[in-house]
Amino acid sequence: MRFVLRRLGFFVVTLWAAVTLNFLIPRLMPGNAALAMMSRYKGRIQPQAMHAIEIAFGIHTHQSLVAAYFTYLGNIVRGHFGISLTFFPDAVSHQVLQALPWTLGLVGLTTILAFLLGTFIGLVAAWRRGGLLDGALPPIFVITSAFPYFWLALLAIWFFSIKLGWVPESGGYDVQTTVGWSWTFVGDVLRHSLLPAFTILITSIGGWILTMRNNTISVLAEDYVRMARAKGLKPWRIMWTYAGRNAILPNLAGFAMSLGFVVSGAILVEFVFNYPGVGWMFLQSVENQDYALMQALFLLLTVAVLVAILVADGATAILDPRTRDRS
């Protein structure tokens, strides 16, 4: 119970830190970007849009900094993120909810797939120590893990879309198909997601393979693996329930930790593919100086990482009885 409470406390603190960063960064920038922005827009845009900027920066002209901060916090807690300038006069929250399914579908599923696949390959590579898989994979994936996501995305578009014409080069779906739960639409969405998913998979899988391989190698030196051999268990049984089950535990913690890295890559991939998800919208908001939207999306990305940590915590609790007793 104490463990759960501590974890919850940590989540609250992290969210608070993200909100506070949103509030502070424009003020701490040289020349107080928030005020500069306000005076630049004053009188040039509609009052409603002006209000949106006020909320984004937490500026009410007559408020002290501290009071403004609390007004800002209050707005965020109530889910009041203001109005998007890009999609004026639509509420930010509404825009975000539209982009979210695209990213969950593409980045979420691909990340989980990469994790599972990478963990499995890493386990097998370590298990067949010195084999073909073990000899070839680490050097290859050390190098692919250094590839810039967006550059690989560019290459993929160039080769598979422009040269070969196999898959569409950008967007989440063909604008000519009607949106809805029809086979044509679903198929179209899948076709559009193929290339970005492939890019994310290739660049992110290497990390999981390498860490799982190294974890497994350490675990294979444990007495309980030797004991399993002494018991005469079948190799696959030892690999799964003795080596794999224990080696995946640090990988789960690592999953949560490196998710920020994956999110960063995914933003750029969505950008390159013009994929209508959160990352693309995030960069759009930056380009259009749509600060209310940008701040909300930044918060959303933080929440996404926190949720992933929660999931990893849950999985760890299921797989490791020791953490269950601690909590």
């Binding site: 250094a146 967006f150 550059w151 004991m227 018991k231 005469g232 920020g260």
Partner: protein, 657 residues
Amino acid sequence: MTAITAAEPTATPGPDPPLAEARRGYGADLWRAVGRNRKALAGVILLVFFLVLAIFPGQIAPHDPQAEDYLPGLGPSSHHWFGTTAYGQDVLSQLIWGTRQSVIIAFGVGGLATLLAVLIGVSAAYLGGLADGVLSLLTDVLLVIPIFPLIIVIAAYEKNSGLFTLVIVLGALGWSYGARQLRSQTLSLRTRDFLESARVRGERKLYVIVCEILPTMTSLIVATFLGGALYAVLAAAGLQFIGLGDPNSQSWGTMLYWAENNEALGANMVLWAIMPGICVAALGAAFALLNYAFDEISNPALRMRRLDRPIKPVRDEPAPVVPSADDRILEVRGLTVAYATDDAPVVAVDNVDFDIGRGEFLGIVGESGCGKSTLLYAITRLLGPPFAGQIMEGEILFHGRDLVSLDERQLRHIRWREFSVVMQSAMNALNPVLTIAAQMRDACKAHSNMSAKEIEERSREVLRLVSIDPVHLHSYPHQLSGGMRQRAMIAMALLFTPDLVIMDEPTSALDVVAQRSLMVQIKELQRRLGFAVVFVTHDMSLISHFSDRVLVMYAAQVAEFGDTRQIFEQPRHPYTRALLEAFPSIHGPNVRLTGIPGSPPDLARPPAGCRFSPRCPHAMPRCREAVPPLYDVEGDLVRCVLYDKGAVPEQTLVEAS
């Protein structure tokens, strides 16, 4: 003095003693190891290549990178290796000039992030208390907040930020992962002896941190730097690519930005868009390769070492059963085991012979590092990391079959049914994520068609055998006490009532009282069920009370082998005598305990001749000439020239003993 019975249960034979030894003089070893590692070498070469480009772009680049002097969109030619941009600039020259910025960012951010990580991580761990709480929370929060989006947010307010801002921001946000690792590493070091002694000496905190702690963490600090550099190269390229850098700067990311804006890939200026990415990937790969190589170097388990000479070829058909003369169930002949190391192979078991009869209790005794455990894992064919030794020669006849010639599949059928193993620490030997019941079930299912109910019944039965209440069957190992875990492991070993149970110091992790009662119980079970025991220990008193015969090992060889009574009444080898003098007798008269001066030899460089001679009170010049053979003295085998009848009259031996 070196007490033989001193608690040293975890000392393992074999190469690569952990951290403690690697502490001082680590630097030189590190560089030697880098030279030997191919991944590290590739990383260094790449890095040096880019460093040269970054330092001397003016001398190397063929053209002015910004001058729009040429036709736009030229293909590759001898004049423009990688063609020209849509603005008529030379792509190669831009690449070369762009190197400088990436290198500055990599080293600047890597350095800054490492500095912050060391400062925050080490001081959090070393100061402890509130400071640790606050710093750790800060680290964890920063670790979770997605850094790259945060940098984009910052860049959104301050567009076209210069190189300096970029380095500061990336560095100030990128230290958390390293700090977290450095903190936990420092915490684990805090109670180590060398730090305690520094504290006792009254050294100042700063001195302790800089001179004692940091050198032990060289590899972690290097890893933090390399990881930071890799992340910086990728993040900076990403930022510039989406247009959040200075569009007039000369960098790979900016090149990609302009290439993308001019649709270079579609417009046949492919190299303009591909080459900067390859450069980013190559510089990143240099750091990633070095990072991976350092991981391999600092964690020896990740490296593979092989001996040239393989073990005996595996036979396809079952090994022929050699009829045994009497009731011997295990006969080991000429067994030699070696470890591969970076230098010459280390022979940890040298030509060992012994045998064991049905229902017999054989003790194997010796100091830590004499090859006992290696011998034990060799005869069970369980050698593998961290006992990565290989059987070089010899036979292990178990029920007449030579185990050395069996492959894993053939061994699997014999294991646990015919011989089982009990390890030193049940905490490590039981799978922490499975219940005792599940681990027993695994063994039962592997060797029988027992139903779930029968398995449960049998598991309860063996737990009762070792006096554990069967309610604990469905507990996880960590929920049991140390003594119970050890008993549970012994219970598991008895599931099939094998003919032979091999025990590696099964009681040394327990306190003296628990040890006694467990030993009595093992002996009781052995009498009742009739299995034979090979029992490895460094505790002479256990041997004297429980074993029928004893094998004394010294520096990978048999020093003395014979009947326990006879050896305890009349120890012949000077080493056996020294062992006996080093432990107190419960019943005998009070005598001053003496240790054995010196310590066992390094098996990589065993002394010439008799291996005990450097520590032996009876050593004579002859001892150093050749390894003495085993002399048969009244059925007791002794490896000592004192018992060479041709050379020394019998009387002196009796006097000497």
